[in-house]
Amino acid sequence: MDWFFNFPDMSRSDLREFKKTVDFAFTDFSRAYGQGIEEFFEPLLMFLVWFEKLFINTPWPIIIFSILLLAWIGSRSMLIVVGTFLSFMLIGYFGMWEDTMSTLAIILVATFLCIAIGIPLGIAMARSNKVQAGIVPVLDVMQTIPSFVYLIPVVMLLGIGKVPGLIAVCIYAIPPIVRLTNLGIRLVDKDVLEAADSFGANYWQKLFGVQMPLALPTIFAGVNQTIMMALAMVVIASMIGVKGLGLPVLRAISNQYLALGLMNGLAIVILAIIFDRVTQKFGMRMQKYRNEGKD
């Protein structure tokens, strides 16, 4: 009856062998290909470094002015612009300017990457049920697997630094944009698509002339979510060598610096709120035609 009370598991030595095999296999793999993969990402690293330097080295008034301008273009709301101005002044005054710029740089690059990869993936999913059935489980895994688990192979392959950090952020942040692009396109009114068909529109004309514009508000909700999730990964990414607001938070945890942790944590929150409000307002403006239209 032993098997009834204790789970009949594999023997300890077998298990050790199994783990060892997997570990060695991956170590061999990273030894063989790590160099190549790193070289593949070299241009990305260069760009990341250049982009971060650009943010840090540009005089702060110019940066603030550009951010306010973008906030205005996106939201057309004076309230949001004033709020953004005060927030950035506060961040700078408390000495977090440089870290904030680093974080901003990596978030922007990560978001851009997620959009560039995510939207075409979403389109492919919307086009074919088989592709959708193949990608959905992958997205599920990406969203639910603890971030630390996929940090291990990433670090084994690429070591510690900006690029592995960026990849970790992207893995975490890309699912919403893929899902919502797919959903948005699939939700486009069938009657309207039939009309486009009846006038002899081809696949691309339907995609770019009808489906994408009508799906845009949904896709934009995906962009918004992707940015939010990228920001949420800042602290974890700092564990593998990404500079920015996450690093002081990490330091604060290990040394129990309450004020430092709180300040940097709140700076991340402020960034998140600004991004969220601006992109949401922008998304709402894009579907104005649904209510009153004419402008």
């Binding site: 486009a196 009846s198 006038f199 002899g200 529109a201 035609y289």
Partner: protein
């Protein structure tokens, strides 16, 4: 009727929805009905051996209740739905044999469609909607907007070019739909219950716009409706579908005077016969002039009654559009014509 008059020929068209439609086709060809087929093979019979000749420059109405297959039939003409078997001949080519590329060409140049729920592009302005069929043919913006402008004016929406569909009323939206279909100059116009979603007054107005346009454009129009009054008002010919089969296809007058079966009789039961039956349907053919007034052969009974009430004993003379005498009508003919055919039963209460 010479074969040159016929623009589209639908020959032995079958459509069966569901998996295993090819084997189900054999069952249907051996005479299995809709209900039995659904039970036996889980397939839905959409169209059952449809044969239809559509004349050039005429309005062919296709009528039937919901689920009778009329929307399915019209979608076969531009292949929004693929048939299970059969052929559709347009200008000596079988539309069903067109490649994807040819089909796109065909849809762009030869056929356009107006939809029951309008199906306008909500993110495009009225001008962009109307110009859509041209814009996707890579015609320059100047050209298509000029043409679109012309059609917007023609349907009476001048000044609404920059509006979005969501800002317009239902009737105005369908005018946009009509203008969009006309803008491509396609020879054939498919109208899928185009006016069914509109309220009665607007619907009547749209019917008049259509007839007005048709008298000038002479397009070949396939018009789907479930409303007999509408069918009688605009149809040059009416085909009636039931459960995917063609029950009757004839002149509108013929449908009222000689309904093919109970189903058709049911359809025409409630119409005001005095207002739709024309003189030519009930007249006694003769070449000689009668003692009463002279009227045209397409005058409806109601109007003839008005004329005859002054001198009930004098038969009226009927002449055709060229002014030649073709027959006469007496008061008895009038009464006979207004009562329902025997097969319909008397159906009088109180």
């Amino acid at each position: 009727m010479s074969s040159k008059d016929i623009l589209i020929r639908v020959n032995q068209l079958y459509k069966i929805f569901g998996i295993g439609d090819k084997s189900a086709l054999d069952l249907v060809k051996n005479g299995m009905g809709k209900d039995e087929l659904l039970e036996k093979s889980n397939c839905v019979l959409g169209l059952n051996n449809i044969n239809l000749n559509i004349k050039r420059g005429k309005i062919q109405v296709v009528m039937g209740l919901s689920g009778s297959g009329k929307s399915t039939l019209i979608r076969h003409l531009n292949r929004l739905i693929e048939p299970t078997s059969g052929e559709i001949i347009f200008n000596d080519t079988n539309i069903l044999n067109l490649t994807q590329k040819e089909l796109i060409q065909f849809r762009q140049n030869n056929m356009s469609m107006v939809f029951q729920k309008f199906a306008l592009f909500p993110h495009k302005t009225v001008l962009q909607n109307v110009g859509y069929g041209l814009a996707i043919q890579n015609i320059s913006k100047d050209k298509w907007s000029e043409k679109a402008q012309k059609w917007i004016k023609r349907v009476g929406l001048d000044g609404y070019e920059t509006y979005y569909p969501g800002q317009l009323s239902g009737g105005m939206q369908q005018r946009v739909g009509l203008a969009r279909a006309l803008a491509t100059d396609a020879e054939i116009l498919l109208m899928d219950e185009a006016f069914s979603a509109l309220d009665p007054l607007i619907r009547s107005e749209m019917q008049n716009i259509l007839l007005d346009l048709q008298s000038e454009l002479r397009k070949t129009i396939i018009f789907i409706t479930h409303d007999l009054d509408e069918a009688l008002k605009i149809g040059d010919r009416i085909a009636i579908l039931r459960d995917g089969s063609m029950v009757q296809d004839s002149d509108p007058q013929e449908i009222i005077m000689n309904p093919a079966d109970e189903y058709v009789s049911d359809f025409i039961k409630d119409i005001n016969r005095a207002r739709v039956i024309q003189a030519r349907s009930i007249m006694t053919p003769t070449k000689t002039k009668s003692s009463g007034a002279t009227v045209k052969e397409d005058m409806v009974l109601e109007d003839i009654l008005q004329i005859m009430s002054d001198a009930p004993s004098k038969p009226v003379t009927i002449e055709n559009t060229k002014g030649k005498i073709t027959g006469k009508i007496e008061m008895v003919n009038l009464i006979e014509g207004m009562k329902r055919p025997k097969s319909l039963g008397t159906n009088i209460t109180g």
